[in-house]
Symmetry: C2
Subunit: 209 residues, 2 copies
DNA sequence: TCAGCCATGTAATGGGTTACATGATTGA
DNA sequence: TCAATCATGTAACCCATTACATGGCTGA
């Protein structure tokens, strides 16, 4: 029964710290932040617009961000947020203390592959090919970004996350290729020996239409 | 204004189809399913216990699963669920029609790396090393599973998802190694030229403690 | 005797998405 | 003139997690 340490820091979700982190790049409005988030951490974290605005209000209420009304003549008024010293302290604490664990990739596609036996072979292959194509496109996209930022010292850490994206995209490309190969090999085996194991839907059952 | 096609299928979340898919392996109780899910699709999808039970009830209400009360003498009574023909049809439809897109890896660790400039260098390196260690452990774990299932034809598709896990774990291992290298190189550059760019917290500001 | 398995859930909370709403300005 | 940009939000919904609750049986 160890004594609970005084809970000074309110427990906030990861999203809060993501926004707080973006504010360290300078004060911004919700609208600006949305765009900024999209092309920075957007590759591994992407909240909805309404969520972001709500998050900013929460950070303000916690004293982690300062909200300033800015009236504009030609454009709609806006609220600009900047990180406060308390906010920065909270962010640094989070960065150092929040434990990191390798999180599983949560993927609909992987789920489909797992249940692949229930799919007609052509459909399965078509979807894998589509993923392969998408992964390649994604890889190319990241490569282009890499070229544009790789020499900017100030973007060293963002650059590292980009490298992760590249590594994962590469893994995905190779894996999908491997899947296509393995399926083709299996097809061959089947034609020589046993029947395809694709389970046709039970006919005459539940055919309402 | 194209005519909306008759909505025959209620739109269910991915989780429902995951459970439905597991039921194709045979009828099971919620309790059994939980264990089964954990060691099968658990590597890329893992719902909470209470969520799973709720999901089963929903599938039952939709006519996608059949619930059977099983009274037991020595153990608590249980409810066993089996997939219905309608359930299987819905599952197959989902497998073929639900569009697949490469989903981003949503990772707290990546977020931390992005904001790495705000961390003291040793802390950053320690966390990367910890991730490297964890990724290696994960890789080994998957390797062991691979050995045990690679020759079972009935587990061909699950085997493919395992391969994905291996591919991603490998990517993570290589990436973390790369990060350590790049950081070390950078350190060297800094010692020769400019100062470290680690931004010390502003002193004297908000130091409540 | 005591942890751990078997077996099922409720309640509360909150994280996050989608849809809806508004309205002026600017450039093609 | 028409779409896009700037700018902010509310409302509704629901997916999902965590904590809580119960209680008998089994094996170390």
């Amino acid at each position: 029964m160890a004594a609970e340490p005084a809970k000074q820091e309110p427990k906030l979700p990861t999203t809060s710290f993501a926004v707080l982190g973006l504010l360290t790049f300078g004060e911004q409005s919700g609208y600006d932040l949305m765009k900024f988030a999209h092309k920075s951490i957007g590759y591994f974290w992407g909240p909805a617009k309404s969520h972001l605005y709500a998050e900013l209000r929460r950070l303000r209420d916690h004293g982690y961000a300062l909200e300033t009304q800015v009236e504009q003549a030609q454009r709609p008024d806006k609220r600009v947020y900047s990180i406060t010293p308390e906010g920065e302290r909270a962010l640094r604490t989070w960065l150092e203390t929040a434990e990191v664990a390798p999180e599983q990739i949560k993927s609909v596609f992987t789920l489909k592959v797992f249940f692949g036996a229930l799919m007609p072979r052509e459909s399965f292959v078509a979807q894998v090919k589509e993923m392969h194509r998408a992964a390649r496109a994604h890889f190319e996209e990241l490569l282009a970004i890499e070229q544009s930022i790789k020499d900017q010292e100030s973007l060293f850490f963002p650059y590292l996350t980009l490298k992760q994206g590249l590594a994962h995209a590469e893994a995905e490309i190779r894996w999908t290729e491997q899947v296509l190969e393995e399926v083709a090999n299996r097809e061959t085996r089947e034609h020589q020996g046993a029947d395809s194991d694709y389970q046709e839907p039970a006919s005459g059952l539940g055919t309402a239409k």
